[in-house]
Symmetry: none
Subunit: 422 residues, 2 copies
């Protein structure tokens, strides 16, 4: 993404002490950022400030020196700590005047044509010359105001539902008309599993320096996402920029690409099995039901996923899954021999085409020198194919992470197994 020169950008300013105290996350800024990207008007800076006149004034004035649009959220309510409109007016030494239409609207919304609470009165006051940004849902309208040449402030309330509808109905059309973008931004996310981020980057380092489309990597637990972002005049043109890059990534990364955009490992595995009209069951020890949870989070998974056993104690492995006791005694619960037995018995028990068994040491206790915390055995079984996988995720990662990585690895290996077979 090419970033513009100073004094030409857009900025987002969220106002509210609750954000500085960490009581809530700044989801409004994320939402507005997405909307701006979609209409090809990216922004270059986001700021959060508390309900404090002096600091707010300082930030508004400094923004007016470097950007041409400032979008604010919050501080439009009726309470004493809602200071946005009056502080912005003060910053540019403008007087506040009452807007009769807004006043009438507030009265209507409060279901009272005679008396309006004193606290709501200030919500009808705006700097002279400001355009009202109507709020169809609440009593806090915003404004679109240009206090100086080449600088416009757009104010939204902090309530997400109100901000969103005001954006769609009034602010977005205003921006599209007054600041038409020559280009829109389109993104596609490629999801990869089984390659560490640094190795992946080396494989595509020449592509990452490209300007349009850009490729940005984001690593999360057990997967890396590559986000391809193109700027173009039309969606068609953006797609034509993205497609060859996607093709090139497919060539270099191959089967390690498990999905795109909203797809997940679980949804992909469900889809692959459904195409084959096959079913699956699970025997989970250290993952404690998390693979089952991942599969059943997908709507309609019940025609593929029959069920599973969470065999958290050794006696359950023996009593329900009928794993021979001597196998556990001789090899330990975390061994390929035991996961193989777990997987095969589970497949028979559920009469499924496939099964996965997982046993490992998630910690924090239970590890030793030979079988340390982080050691996980995965076994994939079908009538015609069997695979045993041993992973050592390391003890430093912690229980939660070891469990989650085990889920990712089990589903990813099954995915590869299914792809190899088809």
């Amino acid at each position: 993404m090419t970033e513009g020169k100073s004094n030409q950008g857009v900025e987002i300013l969220a106002i509210g002490t609750e954000l500085l105290l960490g009581n809530i996350v700044n989801s409004n800024a994320k939402w507005l950022a997405e909307q701006l990207a979609l209409i090809g008007l990216p922004h270059y800076r986001q700021t959060v400030v508390g309900d404090n006149i002096e600091r707010l004034k300082e930030i508004v004035l400094e923004t007016s020196e470097r950007s041409h649009i400032l979008i604010t959220t919050g501080g439009l309510g009726p309470t004493p700590d809602d200071l946005t409109t009056e502080t912005i007016a003060q910053a540019f030494k403008a007087d506040l005047v009452e807007d009769k239409t807004v006043l009438k609207d507030i009265k209507n919304k409060l279901n009272d044509f005679d008396i309006i609470p004193q606290s709501n009165l200030k919500q009808s006051l705006f700097p002279e010359g400001a355009n009202i940004l109507p709020n169809p849902l609440g009593t806090a309208p915003g404004m679109i105001w240009s206090p100086k040449d080449n600088f416009t402030i757009i104010t939204f309330p902090g309530v997400p539902s109100e901000m969103k509808i005001m954006w769609e109905k009034t602010a977005k059309p205003w921006i599209l008309e007054n600041h038409p973008s020559e280009k829109l931004i389109k993104s596609k996310t490629i999801k990869i599993s089984g390659i560490p981020e640094s190795a992946l980057i080396e494989r595509i380092s020449d592509l990452i320096t490209k300007k349009n489309p850009t490729i940005a990597p984001y690593a999360s637990l057990g997967e890396v996402k590559l986000r391809i972002t193109a700027q173009a005049k039309t969606a068609q043109e953006a797609n034509e920029l993205i497609e060859p890059i996607e093709f090139e990534l497919e060539k270099r990364i191959g089967l390690s690409i498990f999905g795109r955009d909203e797809e997940s490992l679980a949804s992909i595995v469900i889809d692959l099995l459904r195409e084959r009209r096959e079913t699956i069951s699970l025997a989970e020890s250290c993952t404690g039901g998390q693979i089952a949870s991942a599969l059943t989070s997908i709507p309609g998974s019940s025609d593929v996923f029959l069920g599973g056993v969470v065999a958290y104690s050794n006696s359950i492995k023996q009593n329900i899954l009928k794993v021979p006791p001597n196998l556990v005694e001789e090899h330990g619960a975390v061994s390929a021999v035991v996961t193989k037995s777990m997987a095969n018995k589970t497949r028979q028990l559920f009469n499924s085409d496939w099964s996965i068994a997982v046993s490992g040491i998630a910690g924090p206790s239970g590890g030793n020198k030979i079988k340390p915390v982080g050691l996980v055995e995965i076994f994939i079984s079908s009538k015609t194919a069997q695979e045993s996988i041993q992973e050592n995720f390391g003890p430093h990662r912690g229980r939660d992470c070891i469990q989650k990585l085990s889920v990712v690895r089990a589903l990813d290996r099954l995915r590869l197994f299914l792809l190899m077979q088809s």
Copy 2:
């Protein structure tokens, strides 16, 4: 909250174009904001900037003119768009020098003592005089560096788990030693289940207007948290402010308070069962392993939780749990009769003291007029006690929410059951 003068505050700067594109929400800033409040070092401004050298440099320099601590997140990875350390060094015209200890640590983590990818090399470069902020989880250490008098920069990677452990282990102790606060802020969170937020607020409306301590409610799926926050000179003094409020809340809310601070419904249920030296097993249909996941996420849960069956299809309910087929035919899988049978058979199968069975219609399909999407049957069984619970969470909430609410309700009802019996 009293806000300090300029040039004395703390600021948080999140670095990453993905934030400006709205791809992710800035949860790191929220977390750090909370941590700063907890040690009585509130901050006054948060900023987000993209992976852009000039803009980042501009913000770092302007911050150095008004604040005494700048905390950054992001941009410490191995990829070309990770620019934080070198840009900060450039801003203050400092040279980068290789840190041998960090280099060795990176080599160790990459499991390769000979070759280190070129891209990771830069993660061992720091401005002269910077203190390393070790990263126990990844290859991206941060730094604590004072490029000028009365101004310190603390850098964290953007990966939340890494940032959090680095804060706890190194950054927080450093701040507490070097920038002790006159007043500390102490919080205690009371967790409540089974009362809607609005009803709860009515019950405690007079307490919510208090200034020190303050009480702030946060509602999340199936629970409400009340955060009591006191400002005081000492921890002892803060506790003395919090205790009477906590006592008053206990009086008004009673058993619906299920835990405090880090406690969860799952951890409380595990603790209650462990005290009684009793065990539990599960039969999950619509929750698909999520109750098992919740219990097994608690370290040491294996002495209480024996395991469970995820019976996602009716045939599994019959073949493995041995629920008589006529029960399902006559009453349907989502019925008290069937969950009772599932719970009792599971308790026998696992030979546990307690069991929970859950069956419901999580949607989006599968509902009808008599048994709509959102209907969930829960059955709790022990040798001496049985309880059947029917919930209708409503079809509008969506699959994910219906599953999660079922988990909360099942664990909460078991908790109340156990408390009543003791």
